[in-house]
């Protein structure tokens, strides 16, 4: 059984339909790249997975559990959604780090707040918080940022900020980590360091959904690729096959623009 099952998602913004009958599956430990031009609906799809947008139709299942079903309005309440969204982590294009917290605090804040809901929080507060801190340090080390723990976001480069954001998303141990054009706000120089980190996560079999414009990266790192256009999935399949030998004209057209560069 696939870890993530997305079935017939539809989404409108007013009269504009931005997602049309979007269905796909993703196996545990695989990386899925979503490619397509701006306005093709890829970011909206990612935002639907993270409950930042509510689909008008369709279902989202993780490990067999239905997290979203458009037919069941009760499941849309905020309290119901809050815990479900923890199955997903999201890394934003513009990082969205909390500016008033240090790198380490950014990574540990949500974990510390969630820990308060644990039954054993009062009894084991010190130990729980120490564990969260230790885990946060470990994640920053994994991102190559051990020497930046106490830095505030504005003291970090874009690439460093995005790596902190990745550590922050990993801290809650999501089943599926999503990336929304993680390098689009970065200089080419800084893009590499972020892509290296994502590649390392792929090597560790982290289940990921990556919206990206980096075709070579998608081809080399992702297992599956989805090409979207006009809110539709035009083509999906193994990454190398879709990017090197696309079957659809529309995909070929899109990819040829990258080949020229």
């Amino acid at each position: 059984m696939a870890l993530l099952e997305v079935h017939q998602i539809e989404k409108h913004f007013g009269a504009t339909q931005v997602l049309k009958d979007v269905s796909f599956e993703l196996e545990q430990g695989q990386a899925l790249a979503i490619i397509g031009s701006s306005g093709s609906g890829k970011t909206t799809l990612l935002r639907c997975l993270n409950f930042l947008e509510t689909p008008d139709q369709g279902t989202i299942k993780v490990a067999g559990e239905t997290l979203f079903d458009a037919e069941i309005p009760a499941a849309r309440s905020e309290a119901a959604i809050r815990k479900k969204r923890l199955h997903f982590g999201l890394v934003f294009q513009s990082f969205n780090l909390f500016p008033q917290y240090t790198a380490l605090e950014n990574v540990t804040l949500a974990g510390k707040l969630l820990a308060k809901e644990r039954a054993d929080y009062k009894a084991g507060k010190k130990q729980i918080l120490a564990e969260i801190e230790a885990q946060g340090r470990e994640l920053l080390a994994q991102m190559g940022l051990s020497d930046r723990e106490k830095h505030y976001p504005h003291q970090l480069s874009g690439g460093q900020q995005q790596r902190v954001a990745i550590a922050r998303a990993l801290a809650l141990r999501p089943d599926i980590l999503c990336f929304d054009e993680p390098t689009s706000a970065l200089d080419p120089e800084l893009t590499g360091e972020v892509l290296r980190v994502i590649r390392a996560l792929a090597d560790q079999r982290t289940t990921m959904v990556i919206v990206t414009h980096e075709m070579a990266f998608a081809r080399d790192v992702a297992d599956q690729v989805i090409f979207m256009d006009g809110g539709l999935i035009v083509e999906q399949g193994p990454a190398r096959a879709v990017i090197e030998h696309p079957r659809e004209d529309r995909t070929r057209q899109f990819l040829s623009r990258y080949a020229k560069n």
Partner: protein
């Protein structure tokens, strides 16, 4: 030496008494309007349209009419309509004035807060949501400090205006510092026709707004640790 003269001592004591009332009104207004403004700003941003419209209507009415008119209305109308009375004498007048000031300033503050909150990028809220935070946690842990940083300069303006606006309380005979200064022109404690006490009140205002400016600048500096 003039500052040792009986005239100066008498005037000085009277002005001090008036200024204490001014300060009392100032601090009570801040203590009431700072939190009330936050409640009003939430109302004006509510996702429930009727509440949003009602709040914005109130803000419009309060900001659209002179404070002096609000003080007079609040002081005289309830007793005239036999709703309730503010109580007699100085304390009754003070209560009415304080209520008018808190309401008036809360409306101004609420708009500053709204600007501050809406100025925090939507991505901050989204980052919090994705991390499983509740809306309350996002407001207090993420938005609030960023909002405070944004609103310090416009709040400084309002706070300094407030120090001076307290003089409007004299319209219902609250004996704040300007009233006291003027009293020596009209006749008070055997002195009449003195012009200088009225002008001397400026020293109090200048000293106080100077101090306020220093404190708010310090707060602004303190919040420079992030951007």
């Amino acid at each position: 030496m003039f500052f040792a003269s009986a005239e100066f001592q008498t005037v000085f004591a009277a002005l001090n008494t008036g200024f204490v009332r001014t300060l009392k009104l100032f601090f009570i207004t801040l203590a009431g309007a700072i939190p009330l403004g936050l409640v009003i700003s939430f109302g004006s941003m509510s996702r429930f349209p009727p509440l949003r419209w009602l709040t914005r209507l109130v803000i419009w009415a309060v900001r659209g009419t002179p404070l002096v008119l609000q003080i007079i209305a609040l002081y005289y109308v309830p007793p005239l309509m036999k709703l309730f009375s503010w109580g007699s004498g100085e304390s009754g007048r003070f209560t009415a004035v304080a209520v008018a000031f808190v309401l008036n300033y809360a409306c101004y503050f609420s708009e500053i807060y709204r600007g501050g909150i809406q100025g925090v990028p939507a991505g901050q809220q989204e980052a919090g949501l994705v991390l499983g935070m509740t809306r309350r946690q996002i407001f207090f842990q993420v938005t609030l400090l960023q909002m405070i940083k944004r609103i310090v300069p416009p709040m400084s303006n309002e706070i300094i205006t407030l120090v001076k606006d307290t003089s409007l309380a004299r319209v219902i005979a609250l004996q704040e510092i300007i009233w006291m200064g003027e009293s020596f022109l009209k006749g008070n404690q055997g002195y009449a026709g003195l012009v200088w006490p009225l002008f001397f009140t400026a020293v109090y205002y200048l000293a106080f707004s100077g101090l306020t400016t220093i404190l708010l600048n310090r707060l602004e500096k303190k919040l420079e640790f992030f951007r």
